[in-house]
Point group: C2
Chain length 376, copies 2
């Protein structure tokens, strides 16, 4: 490919650490990194309209290939000119490869070196996804960034299990790179290796040798202790090719994100802000608010006085509690708007602090504030 | 009261019929009638933010006293300065008296001439609502328009049953008028009488004698044949005091509304647009769209090409079907936005046709179009 699907330019970096602020140019807009991608599993970020997402400051969202492949189907999305048009999202999209969901199916799937045979969780129908079909499906969906089909090594995995899994992922990574046909999409490789640092290093080297438009650390946030995850990110992130975007998949809490940025990571996705919102757990810098708690019954203050979201500008904690207790759909909407804005504002603050050369200070203050507000 | 809570001025009327366009001035804005009030049972019109309601053109919404009395409670809403502030709705609000819901409780309620003893559908707790408490609760909620506490005569009811019920409602109506203390709220009386026209006429005369700021026809749309309902509205509406707003409670379908406007009715409320939206039944002038139907699977057209709502301006039927089939919250949001806008645009069209002296023609065309599109 002559023209890269992405251009990635560093705009600032931390003098005393790995944190960096970059500019990621995609066919659907310029994304400032570090960036958080809200998760739009089935072609919608749950409980938000595209207009709300835009107002919250989202520029890049994640969609799940597995779910969209099963419903509404790759042909339908392709026929509509791709996912952007189908869901009316003018910003950029990244699709995962479907691997993570397929491997989560447990008894419903069978892995072979060729690919994965699995049964739909919706209707039990049988499907086969290989590296080649994973790429073809993602080309039909038409995201700006697509992911190589990998095996998400489970936790725990022995050294030997992790090595076998790793070899298969690398083999599949080559096949993905060979199979791709669309020069307007960026393809990211995924580094596996379980919790074994030497396997991780080997995976990284061999993935970088194949050559991708960006690199992800996969197989994290899958049940391993938080310290293990952070150790792997801390060791691996600086080794990921410096001139390409670095993505930690499925991470994480606000604290995780700040720590991973400190290791040099540029991209994040997680269901946490949206799922927690639907369960009534709301993020603020001061505390995590369990909105159903009786203490908010007659609390006239906004959820977060420092927040500029529609929810915080217009409603009291007491009203949000009433909506949640009453199981109103508006509870889901307003809670999601806030949590997504919280995450996106966190990323804005992170980027600003990197630009000003103050990230180390920001990180310290943020982690202290979150620890003070944590009920645990 | 020296200053009326409402001023009501006719701006146009049909030469060859009863339809009329009026201007209803409330403490929270000027409402053009005929008006449809979206229903916000628990202090939220289900699946819509206040911003969406405003964009849809809503100026006056209905909230349910029974539900708000039980949760979050009258004291809490009062403490927040009333329902407008609690739910952040800048437009006008009408509260029903709670009678309809209480009487719907069946075995959970006991009616006496003093009032109604009932058990909460939420936690079984016991409560007593009299005409005086119904007014006091509505004064705490603080709506612009409140309703007298009536017994909603069930269908069918014999002549004697309807008479006994009617006498009680009239006795309660007097007590409500005596009990009210807030001059900034309008109080509407409710005309009962079942399906017996002479009882309806008597109820109307005696209700008008007490004197209210507006008059409602109650006990309709409760299971009686459509022809019976229309006969009562046709007979009674023109007899309701001409200089006051006329309201048919709980009505109805788009066709019902057009027919009732033709009888001289000014105000409507119904859960139909919002409830149907959540069930995937969407209104257009051409047809009623059951969005889950397979025929919409790859339909790229908007739900209603003639509609100016956010949903129709931005999404295809195929995407709406995908969201509905996938049980996504966004399905509820987008469907509700459309159906509410459909109802409010219908009212705009009705008002415009009355202003232009073309309502008879509008009614004929509209009913023909709806009949042609009806699968039944």
């Amino acid at each position: 490919m002559d023209m890269p699907a992405l251009t990635f330019t560093k705009t600032a970096s931390q003098a005393d650490g790995e944190a960096r602020a970059c500019r990621l140019e995609t066919p659907h807009g310029v994304i400032a990194t570090p960036v958080f991608m809200p998760v739009g599993t089935q072609g919608t970020v749950k409980a938000m309209t595209p207009a709300m997402l835009e107002e919250a400051g989202a520029g890049l969202i994640l969609a799940n290939t597995y779910h969209l492949y099963l419903r509404p189907g790759r042909e339908l999305v392709k026929q509509f000119g791709g996912l952007h048009r189908f869901m009316n999202w003018k910003g950029a999209i990244l699709t995962d490869s479907g691997g993570f969901q397929v491997f989560s199916l447990g008894a419903l799937r069978k892995i072979t070196p060729d690919g994965v045979l699995f049964q739909s969780h919706i209707d039990g129908s049988k499907h086969f996804i290989s590296p080649e079909t994973a790429i073809a499906i993602q080309e039909d969906l038409g995201a700006d960034i697509i992911m190589a089909f990998d095996e998400c090594t489970p936790y725990p995995a022995t050294y030997d299990q992790a090595r076998v899994s790793l070899d298969m992922t690398l083999n599949w990574a080559k096949r993905c790179q060979t199979a791709r046909t669309r020069p307007d999409q960026a393809l990211f490789g995924i580094v596996q290796g379980g919790t074994h640092l030497d396997l991780r290093r080997e995976a990284l080297e061999r993935t970088a040798e194949i050559g991708f438009d960006g690199y992800a650390l996969g197989g994290l946030s899958v049940g391993e202790p938080k310290e293990t995850m952070m150790e792997i990110v801390h060791e691996m992130a600086p080794l990921l090719p410096e001139s390409h975007p670095r993505y930690v998949m499925g991470v994480g809490t606000p604290e995780d994100i700040v720590r991973c940025v400190d290791c040099g990571i540029d991209m994040f996705d997680c269901v946490m802000p949206t799922r927690c919102a639907r369960n009534g757990l709301l993020f603020t810098k001061q505390e995590k608010v369990v909105i159903k708690n009786a203490r908010y019954r007659d609390d006239p203050s906004p959820l977060d006085a420092a927040c500029d979201c529609y929810t915080c500008r217009n409603f009291s904690r007491a009203y949000l509690r009433h909506l949640f207790i009453s199981r109103e759909i508006l509870a889901m909407i307003l809670n999601t708007i806030h949590n997504v804005r919280f995450y996106l504002r966190l990323m804005e603050d992170i980027r600003a602090s990197i630009q000003k050369g103050e990230f180390a200070c920001f990180k310290k203050d943020f982690l202290n504030a979150m620890a003070a507000g944590d009920p645990a």
